[in-house]
């Protein structure tokens, strides 16, 4: 028994597709069995809402009169620097970019209360931001300064383009030292006073298609409240890691690069985020639909929190010094219970990724498909999987000799 994407889309068109979330499918199959469910269910929707630092957006702001060439100059949105190493009026804003006068960690721990991600959130909310720029001036682009308010609707293109999102599984962070540390995994109390984790677990997109058998370039997705597309594997994509017998990675593995029209998105699903002592990041909402093409694909979507294991990593020494190793393995059922046992010690847990919002995304995407507003796509190419030979290398430094 197998289905094609075309057949599923036809059912969506007729309003007859059966769509369940990655949470709902678990009980559905427990009741109906895999065979029957494979016949009946057309799509399983996933969701995740967590901080994803390698996010950003590019813009084309339209030409000024007289013309200005921002490329090679300097430009800022609400004092946050944007990347202008492009043509005249294109630039890229990174989520983690900070205003130049932000004290960073000079007053430790820094607050990082504003940055690129907040500019993105404000733009998506329809607000005006201040664009200030200086340029060197050329014969064809004579203007040298620009100061104006600008909003999303003024721009030609405004595109969210995130080069690494939706990590397939992630570390659990603890702190073995005897002082508080401030990390991208949150504030970690000394001597394993707490543990933080960051995954939607059983709802997470790539954990429901662990070998990327349906997800690839061109997959249409829920992105930031609007519609987006997977444009390829994300950076640091690392498929060939230790996995369970069912294929679920037991450590961070695959990642996604995604894009979508910022003008269609919503500030509820793109949130500026501050990690004390670390920096600014963007919390992104992503939902990927998984077409139930056959029994195998369905089985992958049945993954439960207790079947997803991950590694506990010390962020006071092992992580910063890049020392491999794990303090133990825990699953998401344990993590979500509020406490885990690490090396005999009971440690309270906190999430960084919102399960409540992940569930909401899976429901919204389900609603779009049921309403015939969202159709599935057949990827142009699947993401590199375990056998691709793709590896995630550390930097091999080659010291520069002084002449």
């Amino acid at each position: 028994m197998s289905k094609t994407i075309e057949e599923i889309n036809e059912k969506i068109r007729q309003g007859k597709a059966l769509v369940l979330t990655a949470e709902e499918i678990i009980d559905y199959v427990a009741e109906k069995g895999v065979k029957k469910a494979t016949q009946e269910v057309d799509v399983v929707t996933t969701g995740t809402f967590g901080p994803m630092c390698s996010s950003g957006a590019y813009f084309n702001i339209g030409h000024t009169k007289p013309r200005i060439k921002l490329g090679g100059g300097k430009a800022y949105l609400n004092d946050v620097p944007v990347y202008v190493g492009l043509a005249a009026v294109d630039f890229f804003l990174g989520a983690a970019a900070l205003p130049e006068d932000d004290p960073r960690n000079k007053i430790y721990p820094g607050k990082f209360s504003y940055g690129g991600a907040y500019v993105i959130e404000e733009l998506v909310a329809g607000k005006d931001v201040r664009l200030t720029a200086t340029a060197y001036g050329t014969d064809c682009y004579p203007r040298k300064t620009l100061e104006t308010y600008i909003s999303l609707k003024d721009m030609n293109e405004a595109v969210l383009f995130n080069i690494r999102n939706a990590y397939q599984n992630y570390n659990v962070a603890v702190n073995l030292s005897d002082r508080v540390i401030y990390t991208y995994m949150g504030v970690l109390q000394p001597r394993m006073g707490n543990a933080t984790y960051c995954s939607a677990g059983q709802l997470s997109p790539l954990l429901n298609d662990p070998y990327y058998k349906t997800i690839g370039i061109g997959t249409r997705i829920f992105l930031g409240g609007g519609i987006g597309y997977i444009v390829g594997n994300g950076t640091q994509h690392n498929p060939d890691v230790k996995r369970t017998d069912e294929g679920v990675p037991k450590m961070p593995a695959g990642t996604l690069a995604v894009k979508g029209d910022l003008k269609m998105m919503s500030p509820r699903w793109l949130r500026g985020t501050s990690f004390t002592g670390y920096g600014v990041t963007l919390t992104v909402g992503i939902g990927v639909p998984i077409p139930i093409l056959n029994e195998e694909i369905l089985r992958y979507t049945l993954v439960k929190d207790e079947e997803i294991w991950t590694q506990v990593v010390d962020y006071s020494e092992a992580y910063p010094q890049f020392i491999p190793g794990s303090l133990g393995e825990v699953n998401y059922h344990q993590l979500k219970s509020g406490k885990i046992i690490i090396q005999g010690k009971e440690v309270p847990t906190s999430g960084l990724s919102s399960y409540v919002r992940a569930k909401e995304i899976a429901q919204i995407l389900k609603g779009w498909i049921e309403a015939g507003k969202f159709f599935l796509t057949k990827p142009v190419e699947l993401l590199p999987s375990v056998d691709s030979g793709v590896v995630f290398k550390p930097l091999k430094e080659r010291p520069i000799r002084k002449k």
Partner: protein
């Protein structure tokens, strides 16, 4: 017996007077200082948990007010902005009295203000600025 969590605002001239000991000795109240910020000759701010009989508790608070000390319930000074909260649960593992906690079934975060001791630990921990303490 009743228990109240209050914030006291001392005007400068009272900062150097023994006020809390009076509450204990004259009004027979149990006082637990949760937080204190006192600058000599300027001002003072105290967060107290006061326990005692209803009548003496009221009398004690009246005594403070008559001295010119502003007394207000603690809950007023701690805010959880639910619209900013994403229910990530980052705050849950550091909140000592479990005023911030999560419904494990729905994974929704909630704030029980009567349990809050205004320690402020949640402030730097919340990535979405959803917690605020007004002192």
């Amino acid at each position: 017996m009743q228990k109240k969590r209050v914030v006291l605002n001392y005007p400068p001239h009272i900062v150097e007077q023994p006020v809390i000991s009076k509450l204990v000795k004259d009004f027979d109240l149990t006082v637990n200082i949760l937080r204190a910020h006192v600058t000599p000759r300027e001002e003072g701010r105290l967060v107290l948990e006061i326990t005692g009989k209803r009548q003496t508790l009221e009398a004690g608070i009246n005594y403070l007010r008559e001295l010119g000390i502003e007394v207000q319930p603690l809950a007023q000074d701690v805010r959880w902005y639910e619209d900013r909260c994403t229910h990530c649960t980052a705050c849950i593992s550091i909140c000592p009295p479990k005023a911030l906690d999560v419904n494990r079934k729905t994974m929704e975060v909630f704030f029980k203000r009567e349990k809050c001791i205004a320690c402020g630990l949640c402030i730097p921990v919340c990535p979405y600025h959803a917690m605020e303490i007004l002192f």
